[in-house]
């Protein structure tokens, strides 16, 4: 009987341990998913701000050549989970859009200087 009891105890311990590990891994996966979702939400806000800045620049003919491309690259990086790269790119795109707008406004009355 003793001979049977030891393996049974061992098996149940393993099951319990496995259960704990599985709970731990699923909760860590959940935490990771939550983190990704939060990072994506932060990125989306940055993206929306940059898109608005670009639309404003474009409305006055101030869009620069690469800004739209940078925004696409930022989106792709975010979708691939590289939020550091995505944020860097989207901030640069927003900066370009804002500069493009400022430039167009500053050049509103551009004319010759002979």
């Amino acid at each position: 009987m003793k001979n049977l009891l030891i393996p049974a105890l061992l098996a149940s311990s393993l099951i319990l341990l496995g259960g704990c590990a599985s709970t731990q891994s699923s909760s860590s996966a959940q935490a990771k998913a939550d983190e990704t979702s939060a990072q994506m939400a932060v990125f989306q806000t940055s993206y929306d701000n940059a898109a608005l800045a670009l639309k404003t620049a474009s409305s006055v003919g101030g869009e620069w050549r690469d800004t739209g491309k940078m925004m696409k690259q930022a989106k792709a990086a975010a979708e691939a989970g590289d939020f550091a790269k995505a944020e860097k790119l989207i901030e640069a795109a927003k900066f370009q859009a804002e500069m493009g707008y400022q430039q167009a406004m500053a050049q509103k009355n551009a004319g010759p200087h002979y």
């Binding site: 474009s58 620069w64 050549r65 690469d66 739209g68 430039q103 551009a110």
Partner: protein, 281 residues
Amino acid sequence: MKKIALLVTALIAVGILPIVANAAPEDDLKAFRAYFKKRFPDTSFQEFTNGNYAVGIASADKRAQWEDAEEFPPYELPLEKGQKLFETPFANGKTYASCFKNGGIGIRQYYPYYDPNTKSIKTLEGEINECRVKNGEKPLKWKKGDIAAISAYMASTSRGKAIDIKVPDEPEALAAYERGKHHYYAKRGQLNMSCADCHMYNSGSYIRADLLSASLGHPTGFPVYRAKWGSLGTMHRRFGGCNKQVRAKPYKAQSDEYKALEYFLNYMSNGQKVNAPSYRQ
């Protein structure tokens, strides 16, 4: 007094006042020519039509190389193709000649022009496609290929005729002129450069290995055959390339913006003889 202030504010808001305040096109033309005459005293008025191969701008070697290229020009075949396309009847039996004054021969010097009926600027390429659509054909793609070949052939029949662009005293015509003028002088793109920065204030200087041509006479050689392209291209193709080079987002070919720029530049070349198509590096 309040009423006047309100009116002035309203005029500024709708953008009318800057047009009124700007110099008349004729004054711009005089000042533009005088600028280049002073900058390149050894270059004659007509010689500017040769771009950066003009005497007084290009080195003797560069000029000689270009003269050699023009002897057996690479645009000969596309030009022949353009003539063939121009003369080939559409499915309905009509040809391009049916759409243009004088059968489309010797009229390039009047393009682009302000059309009072549509209150818009009409370009030669624009009317080539209008003609196609009117005759049940699909429009051609802008910038290169068949449209550039047809336009080049039509322009070649105007060789030696002086550019003759009018800016009538009508608000829409003046607005288009001013729009083109603004595009030319406004800095744009990440490099913060205007058309004028290269082709006016720094014309005759080198930008890396390239000699910057003068704007005066630029349009006379279009469509041009560029070695870089390996084909003929329209003026709007070149505009897009220039805008991209200063890292600005280019406008679409045949957009109102580029039509206005073409209008302004051709007006500035009034009196200079058409020499299209031309060869450029």
